[in-house]
Symmetry: C3
Subunit: 209 residues, 3 copies
């Protein structure tokens, strides 16, 4: 499957936005300029690295296209120099973050199906692509990953979107409609969850164990 220019542009946009989020965490942790760039790159590329290593698509995709290396580096430098301005863009960043999640889970599920995985496995790989970078970012910064703490924002819409793609294509529904539906569900859910302050159920009772 030759990815179209549109798809690549969207994928790079997702990578850029995720890298910004990594750079902002690094600024908050008072890392220096190279620490900011490295954390930005790891966040932007981590999900795809994990997916490609797990399904055996090596060398991993980001290493064979220089744009995937340059885009998160630029995002890191931008964050380093202009983080106060980015802070004022908070709501806009959140929208981009939601778009990035949608793009990454769809791209991840598609690639996993391409490598012959079952729909359920492809849905899980889609989720891993969408949230892997953020998990690595938080672990490196010494935080419990936000994806585990606020699953309504990440795990639920990510898995929903990835499942729509994986099962929709498996049952040979029209690809364009399936991908559009997955994108709307994932991004819409993410934005609604943030806007309406949705929360997932917490365990009842004390953690007696």
């Amino acid at each position: 499957m030759e990815p179209t220019l549109t798809l690549i542009t969207l994928d790079l946009a997702g990578c850029f936005v995720f890298a910004l989020s990594g750079g902002l965490v690094a600024v908050r942790k008072e890392l220096d300029i190279f620490g900011v760039v490295v954390l930005a790159c790891v966040t932007g590329l981590g999900g795809g690295f994990l997916r490609d290593m797990a399904i055996g698509a090596t060398p991993v995709a980001a290493l064979s296209d220089w744009r995937y290396l340059v885009v998160p580096m630029c995002a890191g430098l931008l964050t380093f120099f202009f983080h106060p301005a980015l802070g004022r863009l908070g709501p806009l960043i959140n929208v981009f973050d939601a778009l990035g999640l949608g793009l990454f889970v769809i791209a991840g599920a598609l690639k996993a199906l391409d490598y012959g995985l079952s729909p359920l496995a492809a849905a899980i790989m889609g989720l891993a692509t969408g949230v892997g970078g953020g998990v690595i970012r938080d672990v490196l910064a010494g935080l419990v990953p936000v994806i585990l703490r606020r699953s309504v924002f990440y795990a639920i819409p990510g898995f929903a979107g990835a499942s729509v793609v994986a099962f929709g294509l498996y049952f040979e529904l029209p690809p364009d409609a399936v991908m559009a539906a997955a994108f709307v569900i994932c991004v819409g859910w993410r934005l609604l969850a943030m806007w309406r302050h949705w929360e997932a159920p917490l365990p009842r009772g004390s953690a007696s164990v």
Copy 2:
């Protein structure tokens, strides 16, 4: 080597028990329902993922058999809804955890030998299979991995069991006897260590460095 139904059942049981341990850590960290399920899955599957990515057995095994995906998901949901009851089963869980360790190190060492690794490398991969999930669980939860802190419970019996399998099969001893011996050594050691409160030697003198 076609794994028998017995072997698969035992392997799934190990995955289930490890996933329970991941779910319990998630409950203690007050994660929500999806956080619990994700941490359960990562704990149950992480060791095998690491092993398969390192030896090049991709797509990793857990992604090509839906049972390996459904079992830890169910374990996570069970933990979420019934964690107080699971807490009362504490001693029983510990026994299952020991059985899981035994099964995973044996399965890990066997698979590594199958991929042409040397006995020492296969023993190390067996240990990685047995403890990898727990390491990822603890890192995600912001803890220093228990396998590093209480090595008599995990690293020592795991490496012992994996070494018996790896070197026993390398020197062409009877496979069934080798695996039985490895299982008894690993699980027995783990249970004895817990029951008798064994401890491994600590560094002497202050950490002057």
Copy 3:
């Protein structure tokens, strides 16, 4: 490319020194003997594991040569029993650590080029080889990785050295001169940065985001 005995000796020396640094962190964290050995091995081998899994060189190199497994184990045991003496060797250890970084980034970039990666991707893989073990060490020990906090010591010289190798060989400059230059730049920079207390720029303004 058949690695010469000299190259392998130097590579093992780098692995040994990195493993010492992992063992010392483990002693400081009061881990027991097996915890010290495991953290030493993970630190000495982690960078190469990451690189090989990302470029698809599996089974990863360390698993197919017993010396790469025995050397960090010995380093871990040495640290456990003689850590006060190692502490007095502090400055010497720092020199070895710098040499290890230089060797690892060169070896990493060479191997990545060998697997057909672009120069930029090879430079990044060289950096990952040089700092990956330390990142895993710090994450397991519950620390924010030192490579992110003190990038003048690690990320900058590592990336500089790896870039010299990757682009120098790509443009077909004489390999020996390229590698020598990369080694001098990387190790010299690292030692100068430590000796002169260099610091990389920090983000200006408060982290408003």
